[in-house]
Amino acid sequence: MLKLPIYLDNNATTPCDPRVVEAMLPYFTETFGNAASRNHPFGWAAEEAVDFAREQVARLIGADPKEIIFTSGATESDNLALKGVFEMYAAKGNHIITTATEHKAVLDTCRHLEKQGARVTYLGVNSEGLIDLKELEAAITPATIMVAVIYANNEIGVINPMRDISAITRRHGVLLMTDATQAVGKIPVDVNKDGIDLMAFSAHKMYGPKGVGALYVRRKSPRVKVTAQLDGGGHERGMRSGTLNVPGIVGFGKACEICQQEMEEDGKHLQILRDKLEKALLQLEESYLNGAPNQRLPHVSNISFKYVEGEGLLMGFNKSIAISSGSACTSASLEPSYVLKALGLGDDLAHSSLRFGLGRFTTEEQIDYTIQAVTDAVNRLRAISPLWEMFKDGIDLDTIQWAH
């Protein structure tokens, strides 16, 4: 029996894998020590658990455990990386290069740094969501300290060519930071092969618990340093003070281990289901795929259903299917997704988009149900859409005289 509601919002967060929860449980009640308590067995056991998790996390991304700084999540990691590098490398320069399709945790941190004297270049993207590497290279100046490019985008799933990007940053001696929150655990990410110097990621996007994440900080060639943003007891080699979230970190470690073992299987399974969903929905007239079709995460699909509004569409099935929309009918500005706008989508298509995020526990039965429910809702709303009627009557919407 199909159980409702169906969860297809795995880019927002994922459920904890039961194996993760099981690994965490003893660390709430039995092994509850403070990992910084050096003088008794409770502290030792906690420290040992953290060390073990640090290895699990490091192994998944091809890093050394000493290069992992545990944080409260990707938002904190993005802040620490950007602000920490900006402060630490102030003598070298004040210029940061990033992209228009970053997560708010990067964009708003950059805006903050601009107020502190940073100069930030926001690279645009093409209609598939990809930056122009020549433009990136041309933007580098002697004052450039860091390039920050999202590994895989959270709205459209487009994967940036990190190896080509790091070839450029290496050649110019600038640091490469990436927000890999949506990529780690889903596709192979290797900080050495990819040439990454700093990388933010989060447990709750990969079947681990919420409120824990990591910042990878390269220690060799080059040795990267960041200025701490939280002062206190000097935890995490002085880069992030605060008593470690031992159960969370243990769960994060376990989640990384499972992802490492099952990523390939999961990826294949999810791509088959995603492609089935996508193929069926793209058969609807005037529906458009957003983002580079062949350079995407295997479990994400972002589709615009022209002439219907995304939030209205969601309402047709939001009791039975959990997904999100690029529409912003609720936001104060009424502005739709800035990511889709950066791809050059007009308001009409941006407002009409849905993001499907499949996950480890998604079944074919759920996908079949979703195809039907979304198709029905699109058809029903088009029947009451004035824009659809005009389109069908061959009226060019751009020539309409609007009363206002």
Partner: protein, 154 residues
Amino acid sequence: MAYSEKVLEHYNNPKNVGSLDKNSKAVGTALVGSPEHGHSDIMRLQIEVNPVTQVITDARFKTFGCGSAIAASSLVTEWLKGKTIHEALRIDNMDIVEELNLPPVKLHCSVLAEEAIKAAVNNYRYKNGLEALVLEEEEEEYEEEEEESESAFH
């Protein structure tokens, strides 16, 4: 955000969806919420008016928008039928907000529905050689709202 029962009811069973003959002299048509003005909703509202009594005999809508915009359109078509065009102009967006329990973030849907009513009435009057009608005490408010919805975009 959860939707109110009344919004859900109109969304699931919208009343008076459709079109009237826009070339008929008895029909006033409004198309409001232009995308260039930052609206995420677009409403087409049509009324059919008895030229002798000025009573609205039929009303139809089609709306591109969220559930609240669809509900607001559906609701006003019900309210309009049987009212004179003068009474119709007295429908205030806050009446719609109250009836549908719209939260503050959805105020814009009710504003658009009110705009649609005014535009439909005046389209009817224009077609019949009458000057545009604006209720005096509401004129100011109406203009203010227009400005707000514009500045929200920029």
